[in-house]
Symmetry: C2
Subunit: 403 residues, 2 copies
């Protein structure tokens, strides 16, 4: 699954979807910045959005579209978040949907809207209008790569995925494009993910599947309860695969859910690995917790520690910082029951930082991918959190974002 062939097809890999990305002049650097994804056949739509109380205008609008249960298109831009823009922002987001709807010959409330970029600026609507019109003209089965590039900001590459699964004798396809959220922390910039599928599935089940899949994927890279103003994960399911409609939590639903979950996890990992300025990809496995929530809390505490992140950037073996972050996670841990491994090598065991082979550790810390195992010794629950290191480059990127 997730082959390179599929990747170029991305959101247009499922039957009945087309996509495009164009240059509208919204990004200062002149790169692609307006994307449209379209299905002529009406699709069931589901969405998970930021919980930030300062949600951006397009989020307010897209929630209404998800509320109608169906959609035909997604229109998105990068370079301007249309957040903290008040009434004007709402009008501009509505206008984005109206322009797209007119060009696509559908209703405005069938168009999901998303924006990412600088907070507090108004959208340049003339450029936007020209951009949307141009994108609609370019819609094609090959347009996903451009659409993916049109939604990125500080990402070093566009994240795209595609896969298929057999459901009731039919091939059901999935595709997705996503952009990262700066360094992966609750207080970082926007994450956007647009997923398409030709599965035929009840809208309520689609919403439940997306919510559950998000919980164990995007929410494990710390973009959940404390989301940015614009975070949005949206899925369109147009039923073009012709499978028997999924209307209950049966075997077909489980196959659908597993595929969706794996797709989301794959994208979440890529987003974490491409965190701003990242030089390392860290997988934090927490086992032996009493509950999943506890395991996640411990993992997030470690993943969010600047001291842990800078130590891995510096390839510096500093298990004290990791156990320290476990200790203040808010979970009732018992230091004497905990063991911690970096790359399979024990660095902390039952209350003590252990002696380890320094040469072997040097090799582990020189790798790009590093696995941190934390066994709490309290129960059977577990969770895996993904993050990246904290580098000079992160500070540089974020010290002059607006200028």
């Amino acid at each position: 699954m997730f082959s390179e062939n599929h990747k170029t097809a991305g959101v247009a890999y499922p039957q009945g979807f087309t996509a495009a990305g164009v240059r509208a002049g919204i990004k200062k650097n002149g790169n692609l910045d307006v994307a449209v994804i379209y299905t002529e056949k009406e699709a069931a739509v589901a969405g998970v959005f930021t919980k930030n109380l300062v949600a951006a205008a397009p989020v307010h609008l897209s929630k209404i579209v998800v509320g109608t249960g169906t959609a035909h298109a997604i229109v998105a831009n990068a370079g301007c978040a249309n957040a903290c823009t008040g009434e004007q922002g709402i009008r501009d987001a509505e206008k984005m949907a109206e322009i797209a709807a007119k060009e696509l010959n559908c209703r405005a409330d069938d168009v999901i809207v998303a924006s990412t970029g600088l907070i507090g600026s108004n959208l340049p609507m003339d450029k936007m209008e020209n951009g949307i019109k141009a994108a609609v003209k370019e819609l094609s089965r090959e347009g996903s790569v451009n659409a993916g590039n049109a939604i990125i900001t500080t990402d070093t590459y566009s994240k795209a995925c595609a896969t298929e699964v057999e459901i009731g004798g039919k091939e059901v396809r999935f595709g997705a494009i996503a952009k990262g959220s700066g360094m992966i922390r609750p207080d970082m910039a926007t994450m956007l993910c647009f997923i398409t599928t030709d599965a035929d599935i009840d809208q309520k089940l689609l919403q439940e599947a997306l919510k559950d899949a998000t919980e164990v994927s995007f929410n494990m890279i710390s973009v959940d309860g404390d989301m940015s103003t614009n975070d949005s994960v949206v899925v369109l399911a147009n039923g073009a695969a012709g499978n028997k409609k999924i209307v209950a939590r049966d075997a077909d639903y489980l196959k659908f859910f597993e595929t969706l979950k794996n797709l989301c996890t794959e994208l979440a990992k890529r987003i974490a690995a491409d965190g701003e300025g990242a030089s390392k990809f860290l997988t934090i496995n927490v086992t032996g917790a009493e509950t999943f929530a506890d395991a996640k809390k411990v993992g997030m505490s470690v993943a969010n520690s600047p001291l842990v992140k800078t130590a891995f950037f510096g390839q510096d073996a500093n298990p004290g910082r990791t156990i320290c972050a476990v200790g203040y996670s808010g979970v009732k841990i018992v230091p004497e029951k905990i063991s911690i491994k970096f790359g399979g090598l024990t660095v902390y065991d039952k209350g003590l930082v252990t002696k380890f082979d320094e040469n072997a550790m040097r090799k582990i810390l020189a790798e790009h991918d590093i696995v941190v195992d934390i066994e709490l010794g309290l129960g059977d629950a577990q969770a895996t959190v993904y993050t990246c290191d904290l580098s000079f480059q992160y500070v540089k990127i974020n010290a002059d974002y607006t200028t």
Copy 2:
């Protein structure tokens, strides 16, 4: 108050206290690393310690000493935190107290012990023994500066304070030395603060006063619920001022408390200003909250945002990041009621990022001290949080701490 003269006297400014700091070879760079503070007259002792479940050995020991209600001395070292060191760590901390007690001719449970530095290493006890013996020999009224330098790690300077207040016709003196906690965040390194006073005060009231003072000072720079393994704030009150003993929450107590609180606030601000790699000192005033807890939560959310901190480092006016951090603070805010100012200049008002004079803003952001005012428009409660920016230097310092 807090004059330079007083500062050099520091913890030895109150009557009956002496101090010393020596080189014991525990710090790799050969700097001062063992400190002793002593009062021949028995002192009431109070302490506030880390809530981290992975507390260091000296913290466990010092809590017992505080439990006895009295103390004669504090012995502290930098360079090695004696944390995650198990039984051996407890034995070493006990041994530190025993060595000091023998030299000072007091009981071992009259000696507060503190360590800061690398987590997971055992104390070099030979060096420690020689260091404590040498420090005790050097105890003097002039020794506070050396004691202050002996407890710092990555601080760029030692924090010291001294002041006095008239209580019941007597001059009551206070002195303190403190070290910072890396960049000021819940998951940062150790904060230590040792306060001396010649006030005569009931031990239980002393503990209450210290707890309340800590709540509005050190805990407002984000070293509270999520403290490091070693954080300790300790006060010794030896009664040498000869004031009528404070035994109730009367006018004398209030004078004592106010002075202690101001001293703690002054030190907390200096610690925040000297955060690792800091180039800016940020004061975040949150007003118009429904409760103090809400105001603090909003302030901490802004103060802890890497995006806000890097923007101030880059002298980049980015109000969107500030309102974003307000939005995900967990407090039920209403964006349309909020206004935000940087250096007195409105940057966000009632749901909108506002236009502001860019030249004036450039001047404000070029200053070392920047005040951020956040009015929530919901109630009468307020809180002030202190923090610093996030710079290249922070990453550099923490990327190779152990090496």
